[in-house]
Symmetry: C2
Subunit: 361 residues, 2 copies
Amino acid sequence: MSGEERYSDEPTRLAELVKVMFGDQALAYRSREATPSGRVRLLVGADSQDDCAVFGFSGEQQLVIGSDYVRGPKFRLYEYGLLGEYDLGYYLVAANVSDVAAMGAQPIGLLSVVRYPPEMSDSVFRQVMQGIRDACEAFGAPNVGGDIGGAERLILSATALGVCRPGGALLRSGAKTGDLVCLTAPTGMAGAAAAYFRSPRVCADIEQNYREELLSSWTRPLARTTEGVVLGNSGVVTSCQDTSDGLKATLESIAFSSGVGMTVFERELRIPEAVRKVCEYLNLEPLPVIMGDSVDFELVFTVSPVDCDRLRGEFERAGIDFHSIGVVVDGGEVVFEASSGKLSPLPGKAWRHTPESPPHH
Amino acid sequence: MSGEERYSDEPTRLAELVKVMFGDQALAYRSREATPSGRVRLLVGADSQDDCAVFGFSGEQQLVIGSDYVRGPKFRLYEYGLLGEYDLGYYLVAANVSDVAAMGAQPIGLLSVVRYPPEMSDSVFRQVMQGIRDACEAFGAPNVGGDIGGAERLILSATALGVCRPGGALLRSGAKTGDLVCLTAPTGMAGAAAAYFRSPRVCADIEQNYREELLSSWTRPLARTTEGVVLGNSGVVTSCQDTSDGLKATLESIAFSSGVGMTVFERELRIPEAVRKVCEYLNLEPLPVIMGDSVDFELVFTVSPVDCDRLRGEFERAGIDFHSIGVVVDGGEVVFEASSGKLSPLPGKAWRHTPESPPHH
């Protein structure tokens, strides 16, 4: 490094620094002696860079666990006064539980880290905690502990836990050529909301029900916990990840981890009506919005066409839904096939920034 | 609340707001249906306010889990240039693993949340992660995941996991009248270091070896993992907590949770030589330093006098040590017995601030 310092972005730091640094530690641990209470197996560690880590204990359950910080008071929509402290607490839980759902596990609990500024009154503090509490209730993962204390501003982080049957955790790495690429619901709402509410044109020029739908993607984000459990128990899903980095990044991540390519069909992509409205008003192309950095908590998963019908039956019985958006192909490329038949890279903002320049936030 | 806003301190927020808010959620969860992969029991939840939460799974192991944020770059010693980024990473792990040790569990892994400012170069970022890595190695808890990404400053939080045998978790609530109150090693070093290094008199007026010992309480804090496992496996320890809130707060917390009182004997308290030196130079009383808000990671535990000898044998075989500092008595008061025989409240800064004024940090 002598002399010139480099500034990597987040994916680069993960890939180049963290994976290398923690890979051998995970390996060493996998082969080490049992604890006094019996053997613990680390099945998925930091080197795997999946949504969560996975541990095997002595019994017939495996633990799935992941941590996520959320920007909270740094969300633009909070700065605009469109989100309150209750909403930030709620969002924290949804973002964390989504990672457990993406592993096909049943959420069982959450630890929250809430650091608050000295000027925060008890009633506002209680709103943060009430949002956490209500989201924990909604997603079936009780708050079991964590940390509260002071800081110069509100800081929110959490850890969600879940359980699955042995071998039941859904990784990013199992997609196979010929599999269908599926999505639990259309993406783009959170990104369209961010674009709409930061636009100087915000006024009464979009119907009230669309406004509410857009805003609720931030105030009441939905972690796909029922979908995750059905996917995990099905035994037929070959890979899964949530779309919290955007749909394009998720597809590329599954393809990269699985060593496969994908073809995504424009004709199968659904564009929510509210997203279409925002794009009309702001003169944006809808496809980059639904594929780009919209932070939705949908699940992308892969399943063979043969198993897909059975899975659809299980979804219908649980009152939930999914749709196919593409297929897994040989090679490492993720390609977009327009309705015209023209092939191109996936639309949407690039996930990886230039690694030579300081990261942007 | 109407009109006038209240500002509680951290312990009050925990006791008055969080416990009430999450208690019924934990209770509801304890009686709910099994997950698809089998029954999960929440044995210790947020309402217990212990060092960690405890889950029981299908097998013969229980999961112990806790989260701690550390102030990191807001540590005075970091602001003075006495701690580097590596040290902050190391400290983060020690603080978190200590909570698992305080439950008598074997650490098995750690998730770290590291958010970094845009101006942080790769080499400095790597130092943070290397400190985390090396501490994980030292305490036998591999880093298995977490979150990295941007923020306006370095933000550090983590979650540590451990396992223990069923019923083996050491709570704060089991101390019994007649038990001895024991401590794994003298406290006060971290507090003395903070006092010494912030003093304008810092110069060559304390021997170099004391300076190094003082500083190492912040650069290489020692989580008592071996002690924790021996205590947990002994089957005779009735309560345990780490001293990360200060010795006085820890004793009062165990006494309160257990519904007992304590008598702490001046003649049994040990004052580290470096702490004594600092107190001489700064004209401070040593007892408030070792009992006050010194953030050490020692373990306080209680054990009956009958079982204490056997426990001492187990400690000696493991090459570790503890000493007794008092006894558990009836009633709810924690009392200090001076060498003169005079009784008084415990020396040291009060843990609970005035709940009507904004908290201080």
